[in-house]
Amino acid sequence: MSSYLIRNAQILGGAAQDIFISEGVIQEIGTDLTVEADVDIDAHGLIALPGLVDLHTHLREPGREDAETVLTGTQAAAKGGFTAVHAMANTFPVADTAGVVEQVWRLGQAAGYCDVQPIGAVTVGLEGKKLAELGAMHDSAAAVRVFSDDGKCVDDAVIMRRALEYVKAFDGVVAQHAQEPRLTEGAQMNEGQVSGELGLGGWPAVAEEAIIARDVLLAAHVGSRLHVCHVSTAGSVEIIRWAKAKGWPVTAEVTPHHLLLTDELVRSYDAVYKVNPPLRTADDVHALRMALADGTIDAVATDHAPHPMEDKECEWAAAAMGMVGLETALSVVQQAMVETGLLNWEGVADRMSHRPARIGRLSGHGRPVSVGEPANLVLFDPGYRGTVIPDSFATRSRNTPYRGLELPGRVHATFLRGVPTVLAGELVEPGELA
């Protein structure tokens, strides 16, 4: 295993320092280190952050390898600065058994670009009717601690209550996709001014907020951990803020796209903007940014949702919901949160690494950038300006809402336990991963 001396990196945006890593561990940090390393990296002007952790990634394998595989998805993750991703359970077959979660976990190990922590389905087949074997998934090699029916809401209050209670036995957490199904039948976009004008079925904010309100009360009642996926409305923020003020064990995430984009984009009827939960209003975007800044929302999670071209190049109602996001997440957060003065780089590290790792109980990730810690690091160039070119992505899919948009920043290098997965902005060849 090679050793690396990273020169003049600004750790969490602080003063420039050298970082020496070898044997997968940060060995030394200081100015003008004199240690001999196999490789020297000039990190002048680059920010060093702990490797990012994504709580919400759709890797699509098994079943939809036309959209993404564990290999291409984790390559995209590495290029985005991630060292760990949580793979969502809505694959084909659904990750609702120990067998499927172990398969995904092993595929991640084999790919080597970042750690893949499978999420297990809460209910069999994501059908919301019968609990999946949550304990078996936890006891498997994949050691599942996060359970979610994401894509579908666990809308039955009793099933939700039981799931919350049951996973307490192994410190699990239920990550809820909050969407009241009856209120969102035929829903195509945020219900509001724009949906009325466009004649597209509305997805009202209340359908998210009603479920979150119910779930935080359930979590409090049974004393279990609840995590709220992709919070998208100002009202949801208020409910979560209230629940946290009560001291209840509730955490929440927001996607990069909900921090930047609004439903006005749907006026184009370009299905690249179709996503679930839908893009909301400028007021919602503002509330989400404030909530991420003050910690009401704990984490940024990408909800990276690759789809093949044909599922987006069609009329709106026929299109699939979702956007790819791993390779643009940090840039979007820089634009929405850092350049607006709402978060500094320490805050970014907290919301994109420390807190998501803690929610997922990933012990080797989300650690401080300090001596003796595992060398999971990302070197990020915040001064870079460039337009988003989907064809340069590592993900197999191209459904990005940022095509042609100028976004700040670029990942220069990513290290997974001391091994570079990305260097000079390019993926390291698989054979070179030690």
Partner: protein, 325 residues
């Protein structure tokens, strides 16, 4: 004018008046023994209908034939579309066949917009109704009908005329196109519907909203009754057909509240006994049949202006000789 007609908002006041005036001139044709103009000879117009619509399709087809266009009917049912062909591949096929214009009716809101913005097709896209979004030629024919009754004359608009649109605004592409075009032409629009059948955010639309039909009729120059599908009842938009009919249907008693000159309109097909009684539908104030006739003139005008790209004065005025015998 723009190259496509996807939304009533694509039309400026001048564009809209040009369509109405052109339609007025073309309408004179229908009185002649030979109703055909050679204007679009050699041009290919495709009627791409993903949704059943005998009335609109027939209207477009008559308009196209009167302008001597080559007409291709591409019904989604019974074609490769029903076997899962994408909108994109259908469009590429039509492009390869040399379509100069595509008249599209689609069940998905935004499908015509998607075609118009794509590089799949180079011809003009004319929206013949998309989902619950828009139906701009219907709005044009409605405006044409209103102008004839309320402010006749070339170059005239509908300034100050009060139009009341009653019924299922939430699901109505006719209502959406009408509110846009009527505003462009200076009319004042009031929507009347139960609150469940009005879209969220309607307070920001350029119109008034009322839940009470009786109070608005006295201040109405044209009342347009929208079709209300009985199935809406099953999704709890209103309790029963009878209750809807009592509160929002137009019957003889209500019609009597209208000013003397006011007209009763309906985009068709009517559900007699639901939103309109037979007495009203068959009364001389009801313009339903007139609207159908006007629809042909309006669609001729739209095709003419989008494909001909010239004003009517430049058009050859001779009637097609091969039809003269």
């Amino acid at each position: 004018m723009k190259r496509h007609l996807v939304s009533a908002a694509d039309l400026s006041r001048d564009d809209a008046l040009l369509v109405l005036d052109t339609a007025e001139e073309l309408a004179q044709l229908s009185g002649r023994a030979v109703k055909k103009l050679p204007t679009l000879r050699g041009r290919t117009v495709v009627n791409l209908f993903f949704e059943d619509s005998t009335r609109t399709k027939t209207s477009f087809e008559v308009a196209e034939k009167r302008l001597s266009a080559d007409v291709i009917n591409f019904a989604a049912k019974g074609s490769s579309v029903s076997k899962g062909e994408s909108l994109k591949d259908t469009a590429l096929t039509l492009q390869a066949m040399g379509a100069d214009a595509v008249v599209i009716r689609h069940h998905a809101s935004g499908a015509p917009a998607r075609l118009a913005q794509s590089d799949w097709l180079h011809g003009s896209v004319i929206n013949a109704g998309d989902g619950t979004h828009e139906h701009p030629t219907q709005a044009l024919l409605d405006a044409f009908t209103m102008r004839r009754h309320l402010n006749p004359g070339l170059g005239h608009d509908l300034a100050g005329r009060r139009v009341t649109i009653v019924g299922d605004v939430l699901h109505s592409r006719v209502a959406r196109s009408n509110v846009l075009l009527l505003n462009t032409l200076g009319a004042e629009v009031t929507f009347v519907a139960p609150p469940t059948l009005l879209p969220i955010g309607i307070e920001n639309w350029p119109c008034e909203v009322s839940y009470d039909l009786d109070s608005t009729l006295a201040k109405t120059d044209a009342v347009m009754m929208l079709r209300v599908q009985r199935e809406r009842m099953n999704a709890a938009f209103f309790p029963t057909e009878r209750e809807y009919s009592r509160r929002y249907g137009l019957n003889g008693t209500r019609m009597a509240r209208l000013p003397e000159h006011a007209i009763v309109m309906h985009p068709g097909p009517m559900v007699r006994g639901m939103e309109i009684t037979a007495e009203v539908a068959d009364s001389p104030r009801c313009t339903v049949v007139e609207q159908v006739a006007n629809g042909v003139s309006i669609r001729m005008a739209v095709l003419y202006l989008l494909l001909g790209g010239a004003t009517l004065a430049d058009a050859p005025r001779t009637e097609a000789p091969e039809n003269a015998a």
